[in-house]
């Protein structure tokens, strides 16, 4: 048994490293058409010809080995550390045929580390369209390497990579650039001081230290003081290195790489001009956003109602079919209601991810990043914060991980702190159900009020993130600002496979991840809601029956009976039922309805005196000023684990507290406040939505912030500030609107 070959995939951002990785290993890591998708190393196994196996490492994209940020330094650290268990036997540099010149800079640097290096020229499928021609044979000679021309899109060349990897021993590991050319005098001295060290590696370690963080600094310091040169001088030398390398590359490309510019121009340039235009750019983006929100509303309504009804029916069926008992009740009222509370949102979540991945894959997202960069400067954020802030609209966790590309620590911290304000997909369910309940239908200019409200909520979230960034910027006093270069990837027709995969994967992880928590919370809540210690709870039957005998049914029940009878009478009269028969059947119906109403009143009395009811009542004074009753209060409280729990919690509480199985939407609409008006009205609905917009209700995000900032201080600050702020805004909103 031989050892696996260690292979590292290295390359500039957005050149298709992860796509190659996925093809080689059969895994499915996230691919996207903008730089900075991969921020951690990912590994996989690839079977090579002749039974050899390779251990493949996918790395974050890096422009050169002179790193400036955390994700890039990962690559350098690996390449400089021979003892790392992942230290590559062979490096595979992935380049993009359209940006070969810039890509080759990194290639020459890696080759100078004396690691056998293979060059993969990816996106070969675009050569024709761009008028590019490449003399692979000549280039292999000049670069002293082996080249694989690959298109992961068309699935060509992958086998060639595998062969080259299997044959890695035959690949030259001779360096390309003699480092002493950078500064003969300085490098001679280095050579004398560290005769046993590799000169170029040493140089990288030294400059690394200048640029970013100490990498094995000790090793050098132990020997002697290397900094006979100041930081500025070292930077100059580094610059000289880059120039030398580009000279070399230009010479090679001159003979091997040809672009027919007539073919290369055209569509992309003019598209970019419009899409990133100072006025039209924003206008177009705005229209696209509107379309997306409108579509989420229009398209997801039907499947949503359908799912809602199915779950109500399932609960009813379980109750009627299984033998009566605690478990049957738990199943019908706790488990099914809880699952229903999450499954109902599959359609919208899927649509949301569909649009996001279409925007990412087509390359439009990078134009948005460019637009936003311009917009964000006044707020003290650089464009590097844009990617996290935009991907925060899907989920704050990958967004916070994406801040690793920001080299300036304070700027990174600010971005981490404000990202949870952006509207993550977990807020969507809460917004949608509330909007459907409290925002009237109807439209202006073909745009429904409901879609507009949803968009407004997204804008509020984003605006709040910017605003707090500005405030934090003032407080934390950032001096240096990092430079930002947006890479404009070419437009590509989104690959159906990628899009479908992303949608399924994201939706699945949303449903499964959130589903488990929601289900568990529902079950626990159900127990707390159907048990109680007080006498009121134990004797609920007697107490309520006596009360009804003395005072009659509650107004709510009376209305319920009246409404039902009225609608029955209408339909019966329409059918032409004889007056006598009508009278009789109404009597029977009324009898039936009042029995149901009594059962209903007992159930809700019990709920109010159960554990959860008493806890809720104790908590109620706090949420009353926001327009919520104790049930909503409980739902808000459980949402601090994760926002999406809100609807599931309400579904469970309502179904314990009622005698019939109903859809969640109808139940919420039927809830009344103390005065007999709908509990979910414009004022309380808006107040709730604003609360969810601003509150930090996500344990997973807190955990990630702790991990990324390495202290509990920041996540706790976030939690405290955002919750208090949310409370105040919700309070103001309710008090104004009521």
């Amino acid at each position: 048994m031989s050892k696996n070959i260690n292979v590292a995939l290295i390359g500039n951002p957005n050149t298709g490293k992860t796509s190659v990785f996925n093809q080689l290993t059969g895994l499915k890591q996230k691919v996207g058409n903008y730089p900075g998708i991969t921020v951690e190393k990912k590994e996989g196994i690839c079977k090579l010809p002749r039974g050899v196996k390779a251990h493949i490492l996918d790395l974050p994209g890096t422009y050169s080995l002179n790193t400036t940020s955390l994700d890039e330094s990962l690559v350098v650290e690996l390449l400089l550390n021979k003892n790392d268990k992942d230290y590559p036997d062979v490096a595979v540099v992935i380049s993009d045929v359209e940006n070969l010149k810039r890509n080759l800079l990194l290639f020459t640097q890696i080759k100078d580390l004396k690691i056998p290096t293979i060059l993969v020229v990816n996106m070969a499928d675009r050569m024709d369209r761009k008028g590019i021609s490449l003399d692979v044979g000549a280039m292999e000679k000049k670069l002293d390497t082996k080249i694989a021309l690959v298109s992961t899109r068309k699935n060509t060349g992958i086998d060639h990579i595998k062969e080259l990897i299997a044959d890695y021993k035959s690949i030259s590991s001779k360096p390309i650039l003699d480092p002493t050319r950078i500064s003969p005098e300085y490098f001679d001295r280095l050579k004398k001081t560290f005769p046993q060290e590799d000169l170029y590696k040493l140089w990288l370690v030294i400059t690394q230290d200048v640029n970013f963080m100490p990498i094995e600094k000790k090793r050098i310091q132990d020997a002697t003081d290397f900094s006979t040169k100041s930081k500025d001088e070292l930077k100059k030398l580094q610059h000289k290195e880059t120039v030398l390398r580009y000279q070399l590359i230009n010479n090679i490309l001159k003979e091997t790489y040809k672009v027919d510019f007539m073919a290369a121009k055209g569509l992309r340039a003019s598209l970019d001009k419009i899409l990133t235009h100072k006025v039209f750019g924003y206008l177009i983006f705005f229209v696209i956003l509107l379309t997306i929100f409108q579509a989420i509303f229009d398209w997801s309504g039907y499947p949503m109602d359908f799912i809602d009804e199915q779950f109500a029916m399932a609960a009813e069926w379980v109750k009627n079919t299984l033998p009566p008992g605690v478990f049957t009740d738990l199943l019908a009222e706790g488990i099914i209601a809880g699952i229903g509370g999450i499954v109902i949102f599959i359609p919208q979540i899927a649509f949301l991810f569909l649009f996001i991945s279409l925007l990412e894959e087509s390359g439009y997202m990078s134009r948005v990043v460019f637009l936003m960069d311009r917009l964000m400067r006044p707020f003290g954020l650089s464009g590097k914060s844009v990617v996290p802030l935009i991907s925060g609209n899907a989920c704050a966790i990958p967004a916070i991980m994406a801040t690793r590309t920001i080299e300036n620590w304070k700027e990174r911290l600010i971005t981490i702190l404000v990202t949870p304000f952006t509207t993550c997909s977990a807020r969507l369910p809460v917004y949608l159900i509330l909007i459907a309940l409290v925002i009237p239908e109807g439209s202006v200019l073909g745009l429904s009020y409901q879609a507009l409200t949803l968009m407004l909520l997204y804008l509020i979230g984003f605006g709040m993130a910017l605003l707090s960034a500005m405030v934090l910027n003032k407080i934390l006093k950032i001096k240096s600002r990092s430079v930002f270069m947006v890479e404009m990837p070419t437009y590509r027709l989104p690959l159906v496979k990628n899009v479908v995969y992303t949608v399924i994967e994201k939706t699945k992880s949303f449903v499964l991840g959130a589903g488990k928590i929601i289900l568990a919370i529902s079950i626990v809540l159900w127990f707390l809601g159907s048990n109680g210690y007080s006498e009121d709870f134990q004797d609920a039957d007697r107490i309520v029956t006596e009360r009804i005998e003395n005072e009659g049914l509650s107004t709510y029940s009376k209305n319920y009976i009246q409404n039902n009878v009225a609608s029955y009478r209408e339909s019966a009269e329409a059918e032409g039922l004889a007056p006598n028969a009508l009278q009789d059947s109404i009597e029977v119906l009324t009898q039936e309805l009042s029995e149901r109403a009594v059962a209903q009143e007992i159930a809700s009395y019990k709920l109010e005196h159960s554990y959860i009811g008493q806890a809720g009542k104790a908590f109620e004074p706090l949420v009353k000023p926001l327009g919520y009753d104790w049930k909503i209060g409980i739902a808000v409280l459980t949402s601090f684990a994760a926002r999406e729990v809100f609807v599931g919690t309400l579904a469970t509480i309502y179904s314990v507290g009622s005698d019939e199985e109903e859809t969640i939407k109808n139940r919420m609409a039927a809830e009344l406040d103390d005065d007999g008006n709908p509990l979910f009205n414009l004022a309380s609905g808006i107040s709730l939505m604003l609360f969810y917009a601003f509150a930090m209700q996500c344990m997973s995000t807190l955990a990630i912030v702790k991990r990324e900032t390495n202290s509990w201080k920041w996540p706790m600050l976030q939690l405290g500030f955002m919750s208090v702020f949310a409370y105040i805004i919700a309070l103001i909103a309710y008090q104004i609107l009521i």
Partner: protein, 47 residues
């Protein structure tokens, strides 16, 4: 009786899961394989 057992069994599993997920420190469980590749899919722990 069976109903009781099933119901309380479910309760214990659910409550146990929540405690494990939110209350216990994560570090207890993920000792061996810290940071980098403990996070296989793209949205580690995200719902």
């Amino acid at each position: 009786m069976i109903q009781q057992i099933l119901a309380y069994g479910t309760l214990i599993i659910a409550a146990g899961y929540l405690v494990w997920k939110f209350l216990l420190p994560k570090s207890l469980f993920s000792k061996g394989k810290s940071n980098s590749n403990s996070c296989g899919s793209d949205n580690c722990g995200c719902n």
